[in-house]
């Protein structure tokens, strides 16, 4: 007997689709004919409306203008606009030369650097949090910062000069991540877990190397220089440094921005992402490459700046939700504004510069606690 007989498969649809194997699924008939009910005119899969994005977009612009006005030689928005416009238009030269020096030689490079570093660390952090399926990951998880710190310490030890420090720090940052990645391919295990462990391992090695160099360094000249560099600062930035950072940062930012939808899928984990059609191995390499380029380039000019890559993505998640489609641009906008404002505090809060890295930690840790306590469960 046949206790359970499947009703004959819907002949019209089955015949049509079996013939064209990779074609579309026949349009499944909704049982409730409310096809229109779902279309409420929301933009494609977006939680945060364009209004939120626009609002976030004004943050870095406002911070940019404010930062010129802030400091020992205040530049008003009017003066700023005039000086900037004069670069393009033939305006009469009615301002003191000091103003121009302050705007173009001192403040502009520093402001742009702060925004680039903030955007880089936040984007890299957001991308890594998805890739490692863990919201507590920061951009230095694979040892990029540890390597960069070691590179800078070595360069200072050998008195290589500012450019030498930056190049060495950038290269060692890349080297550390490369080592961590190649180490991880040797171990047959869950690839994501192995990457984290390899990153911790390599990071520890380079941090120990930095300690060793500090121990060996001349305690009156070089040790303070290394220590100060490791605290992170944008005080000594020049327009040449900015140009050097722009290229790797943009080179890392653009692919990540274009791949941001896939970061959602990657955060579901290796097997599920592959079953959804994602070439996870290749995507992971691209993400690591981009994030490392950005992190190493940032750290090479700014030194160690902690907590930005951790808290900014969380803040962005609270504002626009976890979808990388909005999260990544939001992280860029919030990150650039955030680090710029903290850097303003670093240069203006006291009569002497406060190292930026110290400030980001002092602000970051309690702020993160606040997010943990008050944000919606799972959003942080």
């Amino acid at each position: 007997m046949a206790p359970l007989r499947l009703p004959a498969a819907n002949s019209s649809t089955t015949a049509g689709t079996a013939a064209s194997p990779r074609s579309r699924l026949p349009r499944l008939q909704p049982e409730v004919g409310e096809a229109a009910a779902g279309r409420q005119g929301r933009e494609a899969g977006s939680r945060a409306g364009w209004r939120t994005m626009l609002l976030l977009g004004t943050l870095p612009v406002l911070a940019f203008i404010l930062s010129f006005a802030w400091g020992r030689y205040p530049v008003s928005p009017g003066e700023l606009l005039t000086v900037l416009a004069a670069k393009l238009l033939p305006l009469p030269h009615t301002w003191p030369a000091t103003l121009e020096t302050v705007v173009f030689q001192v403040r502009l490079p520093r402001i742009i650097a702060a925004m680039l570093v903030g955007a880089s660390l936040s984007t890299a952090g957001a991308a890594y949090q998805g890739m490692f399926k863990n919201p507590l990951v920061s951009p230095d998880i694979l040892g990029a910062s540890a390597g960069a710190g070691f590179g800078a310490a070595v360069a200072i030890y050998f008195s290589l000069g500012i450019v030498g420090i930056q190049v060495s720090s950038f290269l060692f940052g890349l080297l550390a991540v490369l080592l961590a990645c190649s180490l991880s391919t040797r171990i047959r295990h869950d690839p994501v877990l192995v990457l984290v462990l390899a990153g911790i391992l390599i990071g520890t090695l380079f941090t120990s190397g930095t300690s060793l160099i500090k121990y060996l360094a001349d305690p009156y000249e070089k040790l303070p220089a290394i220590t100060f560099w490791l605290m992170g600062s944008l005080a000594a930035i020049s327009s040449k440094d900015v140009l050097g950072v722009v290229v790797p940062v943009v080179a890392g930012l653009i692919p990540l921005h274009l791949l941001r939808w896939r970061l959602n899928v990657l955060s579901l984990g290796e097997e599920e992402a592959r079953a959804l059609g994602l070439d996870t191995g290749r995507l992971r390499i691209v993400v690591i490459l981009c994030a490392t380029l950005m992190t190493a380039a940032s750290v090479s000019v700014s030194g160690m700046i902690g907590w930005v890559g951790l808290i900014v993505p969380h803040l962005a998640r609270v504002v626009v939700g976890p979808n990388y489609r909005e999260l990544l641009p939001a992280s860029i906008l919030i990150g650039s504004a955030y680090l710029l404002l903290v850097d303003d505090l670093a240069r203006g809060l006291a009569s002497a510069e406060i190292p930026l890295g110290i400030l980001t930690s002092i602000i970051g840790a309690p702020f993160f606690l606040y997010l943990l306590l008050h944000a919606r469960r799972g959003w942080v």
Partner: protein, 291 residues
């Protein structure tokens, strides 16, 4: 599109977990995979999905060897439904379903309006359109499982692979999910589903595959393969298979574990629990009617 496994052997490292499995699944069919823990159900799925390379044998889709297919090509044909789980980030339900469109997107693209329409359509197909703006991590397990099915449907696959889709669900949600599975097969999909419950094979599948230590123990219509003897040999427990006539005239079989002196399967005992629904119960070939 039909799925065919030819003499498939696969596993991790040097240890084969699945040996010489051959089978075919056609559109409209639900193949139910039964077998104790560690019998190789998940490994078999991973191999079909291309997550594990076969050590021997082939996976064919309409006769074409999938060995060289990219994840993207596979995902356009094979929809995978994992057990309901909690992802690290609280995505919106509609976004989770949209992720099913990934295999249809260009490398640098995000889902378009058309993808969105397809995602909404699949939610409507499963009658869960009302969930679309909820947060995936905050809905119930049964709803999550349905969302994962919707996500697989958004892939517009020909074949659905389901790894114990009901394992974390309460009784009502199990039936809800399984009846949707049967409906999808009726719409022309081929479904391969792993389960821990022999009853699922009777109720929702057209064929059953019994796996024992990575080998095919039995393959065929559930009423021929899922028997008291085969279940005893598969799981090492004594069971009775009871035939019951449903109010609509259809007949089904139910698997009942034999506990103690077989009291649970005695007609009077069955009658006590079955009174609300008049059913014909037949044990050991001797039919008797309980009204």
């Amino acid at each position: 599109m039909s799925l065919q496994l030819q003499d498939l052997t696969c596993g991790y490292g040097s240890r084969p977990v699945i040996s010489h499995v051959s089978l075919e699944v056609h559109p409209g069919e639900v193949l139910c995979l039964l077998g104790p823990n560690g019998s190789g159900k998940t490994t078999l799925f991973k191999t079909i999905l291309g997550l594990l390379k076969p050590r021997h044998g082939r996976v064919l889709l309409d006769g074409a060897d999938t060995g060289s297919w990219s994840p993207r090509e596979l995902a356009r044909v094979l929809g995978y439904i994992p057990q309901a789980h909690t992802p690290p980030f609280p995505f919106r339900v509609l976004d989770v379903v949209l992720m099913g469109r990934t295999a249809h997107l260009a490398a640098f693209a995000s889902p378009s309006e058309e993808d969105l329409a397809i995602a909404r359509q699949t939610l409507e197909t499963l009658n869960i359109a009302h969930l679309q703006d909820r947060v995936y991590t905050e809905i119930s397990g049964g709803e999550r499982q349905l969302v994962l099915i919707a996500r697989a449907l958004a892939q517009q696959p020909r074949i659905l692979i389901m790894d114990e889709p009901t394992s974390n669900l309460d009784f009502g949600n199990q039936l809800l999910v399984l009846s949707q599975v049967r409906r999808l097969a009726q719409m022309g999909l081929a479904v391969v589903m792993a389960s821990h419950f022999p009853d699922h094979a009777f109720l929702y599948s057209s064929r059953a595959l019994l796996l024992k230590k990575g080998m095919v123990f039995a393959l065929g219509r559930p009423e021929n393969t899922v028997t008291e003897e085969s279940l005893q040999r598969l799981y090492g427990v004594e069971v009775k298979i009871i035939r019951a006539r449903l109010p609509n005239g259809e007949e089904t079989r139910v698997c009942v574990p034999v506990t103690g002196a077989g009291g649970a399967t005695r007609p009077e005992a069955a009658g006590e629990v079955g009174e609300a629904v008049p059913a014909t119960v037949e044990t050991a070939g001797a039919p008797c009617v309980i009204a």
